[in-house]
């Protein structure tokens, strides 16, 4: 029987395990003392609360691990792959324990192994941790490869370079400088690219702001935690440095800000450390340590169960509906006091709605740990070396979308490592760094969130797709297909190019599943690829799934909703004009577009006279819908339909201002 307190511990423990996993994965790449300390601290916290709530199995195992990491922290024992592997394994066992699964044997085995490698004699486990808080200067490398047409876009590159100089101390390394840079800037013809070393106390956000008008591929920012980062895959993918060049760059940074990489100098941080972590409060140990590694981004945080949150959202949604109902009822009321009160209610309701929805937003970062573990296990399995770089993962998305995003993201990453990134030997032969680069970046633009997965592998093999398509009878042997068509084919059901079935990918479900998942979130997917250089997959997702801008249309007695982002054009025409031809097609934008009359579709008597045609463009497919008329625009709260309703020409439902329900039309399904 689990009581409420134990439930609370479980929630907390899950959070700790997540942080723990993250730190362990960081440790694998880079054995930073602060990460070791983090692992130690998480174990300590876990042990403490597990004991308090009667989870003795967890307490026991975490105690052993805490001892190990305490020794590592104090430099008594080295940290090797073996210990990290073992700890990651222990994390899985902890998860089982929390879920109440039988795990005594596993736990005993881990403890046994730990005991055999640990010497726990005479160590003071309570040794205080040194705390340092400095307004730290951080080192960055910025790679600037503007398109040649950058001046034609009205961007002043000279001013941009000045802005970079204003950020802190910097040194520009100009590559391909056949013509002096000043002359290139004056002639507005840039043939050089720039490698900029910068030390600054400014935040990454401030640095990014400088490049506001640049396209994602035109610049790249890399935080340098130490001189080892000059040899990182990210750096190497930009420029391959010789030992002597690395030491040059190290000297440059040392001149810009003495001691930047030294132990006594500014605090060294890794680029991946920008994780938002909620730390448990009330534990003296953790509170003290917090200062060392994390600057608290927000004052404090509490965790709330999703159930409670969903309840709140539901109530708010109802309130929004009630608000419209009320203004509908008061429609003709002339009393100014009532009108004013109503407006106030309006503002409050909308404010409440907006903040309630933002609570649901979570950073994409929470998927990071899972993805890192996936990458780790796949690359080990396939014998490939992969450096995983993330950027902008603090971008927020609706909680439900984050969950739905997990499977497609994992799939794309799996594909990138399996099909994209080559084996280390092969890469060496191709003059690429042995380690493949896998980049996950995310950014906001308008009311959409973009997520991009880039790899520097061999790109999509179009010949292989073509051959496979022909083999499967999906393509005509004698016809030429564009790359776009082949990419579309790759994402259609039943298509998978893996030459042999591996455990990693090629299990029959391929990119079509990804595409389906993404479109069910009302998102788009775009693939761009270059032979031998790599592939970029961009996902475009709406910020939230629950609020939808719709067009309200009338058909007979009923009202229906059409998502406004699908609407391309509306016009009126006489019934007899539209239905003159049997083919049910109209000419729009020079193309024949099929149309569906909703009256006909629902079996209602045809309307004589003027009707309204709405041209829909969804996933590059055009279809027109004929309705009686347009009533207006409405921002609605989307509610999914349950499976009881068989008609799949509706994607969901919503409540109108007068309290009645309206169905949301899924236009593409109308023609089937």
């Amino acid at each position: 029987m689990i009581n409420e307190l134990q439930q609370e511990f479980i929630e907390e423990a899950r959070q700790i395990l997540k942080n723990l996993e993250q730190s362990l994965l960081e440790l694998e790449n880079n054995k930073l003392p602060e990460q070791i300390n983090n692992v130690y601290r998480y174990m300590h916290t876990l042990k403490g609360s597990a004991g308090m709530f009667g989870f003795t199995n967890i307490e026991k195992l975490s105690h052993e691990l805490e001892n190990v990491y305490s020794d590592v922290r104090d430099g008594i024992r080295p940290l090797d792959e073996f210990i990290i592997d073992l700890t990651l394994h222990a994390v899985d066992v902890f998860k089982d324990m929390i879920d109440g699964k039988e795990s005594a044997k596993e736990s005993a085995a881990i403890i046994q192994t730990l005991k055999s490698v640990t010497d726990t004699s005479s160590i003071d486990h309570e040794a205080p941790v040194e705390i340092r808080t400095v307004k730290e200067s951080r080192a960055f490398a910025i790679f600037l490869r503007p398109d040649r047409e950058i001046f034609a876009r009205g961007i002043n590159v000279g001013a941009l370079l000045e802005e970079i100089q204003e950020l802190g101390a910097s040194e520009f390394i100009i590559h391909n400088e056949a013509i002096p840079l000043e002359k290139q800037l004056a002639d507005k013809d840039l043939s050089s690219w720039l490698e900029i070393l910068l030390t600054t106390t400014q935040s990454v956000e401030t640095i990014k702001d400088v490049f506001l008008f640049m396209k994602p591929l035109e610049y790249s920012i890399l935080e340098l935690a130490g001189e080892q980062d000059f040899a990182s895959a990210h750096y190497q993918s930009q420029i391959n440095l010789k030992a002597e060049e690395i030491s040059n760059r190290k000297n440059i940074l040392e001149n810009l800000r003495p001691g930047i990489f030294s132990k006594d100098g500014p605090i060294v941080r890794t680029p991946h450390l920008e994780t938002i972590t909620s730390l448990t409060e009330g534990n003296d140990d953790t509170q003290e340590d917090t200062k060392v590694t994390r600057k608290p981004k927000t004052g404090s945080s509490i965790s709330v169960t999703t159930k409670k949150l969903d309840q709140l959202i539901n109530i708010v949604s109802e309130l929004v509906i009630f608000r419209s109902e009320l203004s509908h009822l008061m429609g003709n009321e002339q009393n100014p006091a009532i009108t004013e009160a109503l407006e106030k209610l309006d503002r409050l309701t909308l404010g409440l709605r907006d903040s309630a929805f933002t609570i649901r937003l979570v950073p994409i970062n929470i998927l990071n740990v899972k993805l890192q573990r996936l990458i780790r296990s796949i690359s080990k399995e396939l014998g490939k070396e992969v450096e995983f770089i993330t950027d902008g993962l603090e971008t927020e998305l609706d909680r439900s979308m984050i969950n739905a995003l997990e499977a497609p993201l994992m799939h794309i990453i799996r594909n990138a490592i399996d099909h994209g990134i080559e084996h280390p030997d092969e890469r060496e032969r191709l003059n690429k760094p042995r380690k493949g680069l896998l980049k996950l970046l995310s950014y906001n633009s308008g009311d959409h969130v973009f997520i991009q997965i880039q790899d520097d592998g061999n790109g999509i093999n179009f010949d292989r797709i073509r051959n496979k398509g022909i083999e499967k009878g999906m393509l005509n042997k004698n016809q030429h297909y564009s790359e776009k068509e082949l990419i579309n084919l790759m994402m259609s059901p039943g298509f998978s190019t893996a030459e042999k079935v591996t455990t990693v990918s090629g299990r029959g479900v391929g990119m079509d599943a990804v595409k389906k998942d993404i479109s069910s979130m009302r998102g788009d997917i775009e693939v761009s690829t270059e032979k031998e250089l790599g592939t970029i997959i961009t996902l475009r997702l709406p910020l939230t799934l629950t609020v939808l801008d719709t067009l309200v249309v009338q058909v007979d007695e009923n009202k229906y909703l059409i998502p406004i982002n699908e609407v391309e054009h509306c016009f009126k025409d006489k019934h007899e004009n539209l239905f003159r031809k049997k083919s049910r097609q109209i000419t729009y934008d020079g193309q024949l577009t099929p149309f569906v009359s909703l009256r006909e579709y629902f079996g209602v008597e045809a309307l004589k006279g003027e009707e309204t045609v709405i041209v829909i463009n969804k996933n590059d497919t055009r279809i027109a819908i004929v309705v009686d008329g347009i009533i207006g625009k409405l921002q609605t709260v989307y509610k999914p339909l349950n499976d009881l309703l068989p008609a799949n020409c509706f994607s969901g439902s919503s409540i109108l201002g007068d309290g009645s329900m309206a169905l949301i039309i899924n236009a593409l399904k109308l023609t089937n």
């Binding site: 001046f151 876009r153 009205g154 506001l212 008008f213 308008g446 982002n565 391309e568």
Partner: protein, 120 residues
């Protein structure tokens, strides 16, 4: 004093943009469509063009192409105001000619940040 041309057919939007910019001390010239806007590019210096996409007579894309063809305005920053998602497709065609998109409706502070950055 920085001179800005604002081309937008929808009066309310244009007035809001013009007054927002005027409050910041910019000299603003306004046009209700592409043809009107093009007339303002008579060789005198203009520091920034802010234009809508959908406009009668001459749309934003055509305006941008015509302005860029004039030697005085080849490297002038251009901000394109956009509303609907579907336009993004069309915008790709002129992406190489503009500095940035601004999505309507926009936040004033955010808008001014972009404008000031473009004028740097």
């Amino acid at each position: 004093m920085k001179r800005i041309v604002v081309a937008e057919d929808f009066n309310v939007s244009r007035k809001i943009i013009v007054s927002t910019l005027a409050k910041e001390g910019f000299t603003v010239m306004e046009a209700a469509d592409g043809t009107e806007a093009l007339e303002l590019f008579d060789g005198r210096p203009v520091d920034l063009l802010i234009t809508d996409f959908n406009m009668p007579n001459m749309d934003g894309a055509e305006l941008i192409h015509k302005v860029r063809a004039l030697s005085n305005y080849k490297y002038m920053p251009i901000l394109l105001l956009t509303t609907e998602v579907r336009q993004e497709k069309i915008q790709h065609a002129i992406d190489g000619n503009i500095t940035a998109h601004i999505k309507k409706p926009f936040d004033t502070a955010e808008f001014l940040k972009v404008v000031k950055k473009a004028l740097k």
